[in-house]
């Protein structure tokens, strides 16, 4: 457990676009892993580390996110003192120009609370951990800022932030989407620093006209502050494109990723839905898939992720599919390499075939 620390989760990332999946919602509100939203991982990591004051900032499309977070009770964050705070853009002037105002809510919030440290986390990486080791590292290095990274830099698609580090672990250079990466150290968008330092850097950036915080923005201060990189050795799934999302989900079906992401000793909390149990018919065939409560399966489902309350009709065939909650797939459909958003209806006999390297995406509420 780490003490005296607050958290900030940056719920959206203006650099990441996932087409139909992020059209109705912020990046961190995108469903993941059958019963979660992406933000559940960042939130649970903080809660499991003992952080009790957590702010979530978002600049638009907050409805879906706020529906999900509610009072924070699913994360035990509905508290009299401390708890969950949602920081939408704070519009201080009547003629909203969008310049700087987004951040004034964040800065005034963090100026007023008392915790000594802050962990800032982007919500675009899925990992299941606690921050005790990061804190120990931070103290050990006597760092001003510690940033978490892992070593899948070369493989990852843009946007990425590559760190150049000295042998002692100090960051000496930062590159966004480099053509020729100097290292494979790729930031995970999680950093730890003293809260006062956070407020100071943010205040200065605002005075220079910055309108958004992304974690990498702190790393760029490497000339002025002692910034150290902390290597995260566990599994991290980067969600920075639709393809990355598709690959990450299918990868999470198999070991060891499934255990690394879902089955750690610290649980991943999420809003509960009280669905009925999943029902398998006599004729169904389900292989290598994760299935959530409320599903009703009659057809065949292979290497797929079904969210809550999905129905799969008779003789329907699903392979490499990700089906969001409340979607109905009628009899005889054939779907391969498809992502289907919430509340869609796929009519009988429809055939949708995507490619493993280019999945078909059906947007929220579509009737096909």
């Amino acid at each position: 457990m780490i003490r005296n620390t607050c958290g900030l989760i940056l719920a959206d990332d203006k650099r990441i676009h996932m087409g139909d999946l992020t059209r109705p919602r912020a990046l961190s509100a995108v469903p993941f892993g059958g019963r979660y939203r992406i933000i559940d991982f960042a939130l649970s990591n903080m809660v499991n580390s003992g952080i009790l004051t957590i702010a979530v900032s978002t600049f638009n499309k907050y409805k879906s996110l706020m529906d999900h977070l509610g009072t924070g009770s699913a994360w035990d964050l509905d508290r009299k003192s401390q708890g969950l705070y949602i920081l939408p853009p704070y519009i201080s002037s009547e003629s909203y120009t969008g310049r700087g105002d987004d951040l004034s809510g964040i800065i005034s919030f963090f100026r007023e609370i008392k915790q000594e440290y802050i962990i800032v986390s982007s919500a675009s990486c899925i990992l299941n951990t606690t921050y005790d080791e990061l804190m120990a590292y931070h103290r050990d290095k006597n760092a001003d800022i510690s940033v978490m990274y892992n070593r899948d830099g070369y493989k990852a698609e843009a946007p990425v932030t590559i760190l150049d580090m000295t042998r002692s672990g100090r960051v000496k250079g930062v590159y966004e989407n480099p053509l020729n990466p100097v290292s494979n150290r790729n930031s995970l968008g999680v950093m730890l620093m003293r809260r006062e330092l956070f407020v100071e850097i943010l205040g200065e950036a605002m005075s220079r006209g910055t309108t958004e915080v992304n974690p990498e923005f702190y790393v760029k201060e490497f000339d002025r502050y002692a910034i150290y990189g902390y290597e995260y050795k566990g599994c991290a799934l980067r969600i920075n494109s639709t393809q990355a999302y598709f690959d990450a989900t299918l990868r999470a079906l198999s070991e060891p990723t499934r255990t690394d992401v879902f089955w750690q000793k610290q649980p991943v909390f999420t809003k509960v839905k009280d669905e009925a149990p999943a029902i398998y018919s006599e004729d169904c065939e389900v292989r290598d898939s994760m299935i959530s409560d409320g599903c009703y399966i009659q057809g065949s489902v292979k290497h797929s992720m079904l969210f809550r309350n999905v129905s799969v009709g008779n003789k329907a065939k699903l392979t490499n599919c990700i089906i969001f909650q409340d979607t109905q797939i009628a009899d005889g459909c054939e779907l391969e390499n498809v992502i289907i958003d919430k509340k869609c209806v796929i009519r009988p006999g429809i055939k949708l075939i995507g490619q493993a390297a280019y999945p078909v995406v059906i947007g929220k509420g579509a009737i096909v």
């Binding site: 879902f262 009925a276 149990p277 999943a278 169904c284 292989r287 994760m290 299935i291």
Partner: protein, 421 residues
């Protein structure tokens, strides 16, 4: 603050006919239907009927139930005004008393009920699976101008001998009540759901308490006395799914109804959701070599083997080569490689050893054969047990940790504590 109606759930009974399942928990806390506990049904019915104040009377092995109900949050019963209240027996200034019986349990909680100054009190039992809108029952009660209304369920003549049977006139007014009659006059069975006008019930309870001859039971004493006094007692016929899960056989059947008669109990019904305390577990995983058919599963299960016509609660693991058929596995059960289960109820957190053969043909000579608790070849393996590998337990047996594990025990390796939730 005044409430029109509050509900009191009688959840203190042991449920001894469930055998070893209720060794460590009261019957209402027994897991049911993959993701529920029995008490989820009356609690959810209350909330869905607009009742926001519910007393849960506990006595026998209350730890699991207290932990499970908690502050009532999963049922939206964590309220500033009203909510869920666990009501155990307590010490008075002059001595203390266990709840002697159903009527006495309510009697001891008169001050609690009076706090809310209700017009009506609904008495429920915590051991039935059904969905009922109590608001309609109240409307009926008011429309009839009744002093008390008892919900009744149509049973067959055969079954009628096991129930409290009501005989009503054409207006629905009850003229006769018989407990387990040998020659039933009607087929309307009491569901153990009573709506009372509170001022009347309060008076009746006080009189019943003063009666040394009374056994302080609603069915045996309070209701017959109301009838004898010529009170307006009406029957409220209920249609729909209703099952008393008081025996191993009926518990097994009622679980199977979820897959055999899914439309009857209709757990998918959005307008009448059954709420429960949700485990914090990932969606369940079906491995490439697994085979799952005709079954109900929930979060946290991991299946490598074969599951057919079974109900699995959360976090059940079925290893490769294991076969689970016609069975009910409660939370956290592990079925090791090569084991085979046929018509078995397995309690929470039990580990079935490698290549174990459980259930199937009966063998009356087997040391664990039990005809008192088990029937219809259903085998019950209690929670918290770790079974040895390569053993076999035939049908209609009860393997329980109530029996001390002897060195020479052929079946049980050891016992562990079952977590409260």
């Amino acid at each position: 603050m005044k409430k029109e109606l509050i509900a009191m759930i009688l959840a203190g009974g042991q449920g001894s006919r469930l055998g070893a399942l209720t060794d460590t928990m009261a019957k209402p806390a027994v897991p049911y239907g993959s993701r529920y506990r029995i008490i989820d049904f009356p609690l959810s019915n209350c909330v869905n009927s607009g009742i926001d104040t519910v007393g849960v009377l506990t006595q026998y092995q209350p730890l699991a139930l207290n932990t499970y109900v908690g502050n009532g949050h999963p049922w939206d019963l964590d309220r500033n005004n009203g909510g869920a209240f666990i009501l155990p027996p307590y010490q008075h200034s002059k001595g203390s008393d266990w709840y002697k019986n159903t009527a006495n349990a309510i009697y001891q909680n008169i001050p609690f009920i009076d706090n809310f100054d209700p017009d009506y009190v609904l008495i429920l039992s915590g051991d039935h699976i059904y969905k009922m809108n109590y608001a309609k029952l109240l409307e009926y009660h008011i429309a009839k101008g009744a002093d008390a209304t008892i919900a009744v369920y149509e049973v067959t003549k055969e079954e009628a001998r096991r129930f409290g049977i009501m005989t009503s006139d054409e207006n629905g007014r009850i003229v006769k009540f018989e407990e387990k009659p040998a020659k039933p006059e009607s087929t309307q069975a009491s569901m153990g759901i009573y709506m009372f006008n509170w001022p009347l019930l309060k008076k009746e309870l006080a009189e019943d308490e003063a009666d040394a001859a009374s056994s302080h039971d609603f069915g045996k004493n309070v209701i017959p006395k109301l009838l004898a006094e010529g009170r307006q007692v009406f029957s409220y016929p209920f249609q729909g799914y209703w099952k008393d899960v008081g025996t191993i056989e009926s518990l097994w059947e009622s679980n199977m109804d979820i897959i055999d008669r899914p439309r009857d109990i209709d757990l998918q019904d959005d307008s009448w959701r059954i709420y429960s305390r949700n485990p914090v577990k990932p969606a369940h995983y079906i491995a490439p070599g697994a085979k799952v058919r005709g079954s109900a599963l929930t979060d946290g299960c991991v299946i490598y083997g074969s599951v057919h016509h079974s109900i699995l609660s959360h976090s059940v693991v079925v290893e490769a080569g294991a076969v689970v058929e016609d069975s009910v596995l409660m939370p956290g059960v592990v079925v090791r490689r090569g084991a085979c289960l046929k018509k078995v109820i397995v309690g929470m957190e039990t580990i079935i050893g490698e290549n174990d053969q459980i259930g199937g043909e009966e063998n009356k000579e087997h040391p664990y054969y039990n005809k008192k608790i088990c029937s219809e070849s259903i085998t019950l393996i209690n929670g918290g047990l770790i079974l040895k590998p390569d053993i076999s337990v035939p049908g209609n047996c009860m393997v329980s940790m109530a029996q001390t594990v002897a060195e020479s025990d052929q079946i049980i390796e050891r016992c562990e504590n079952i977590p409260a939730v």
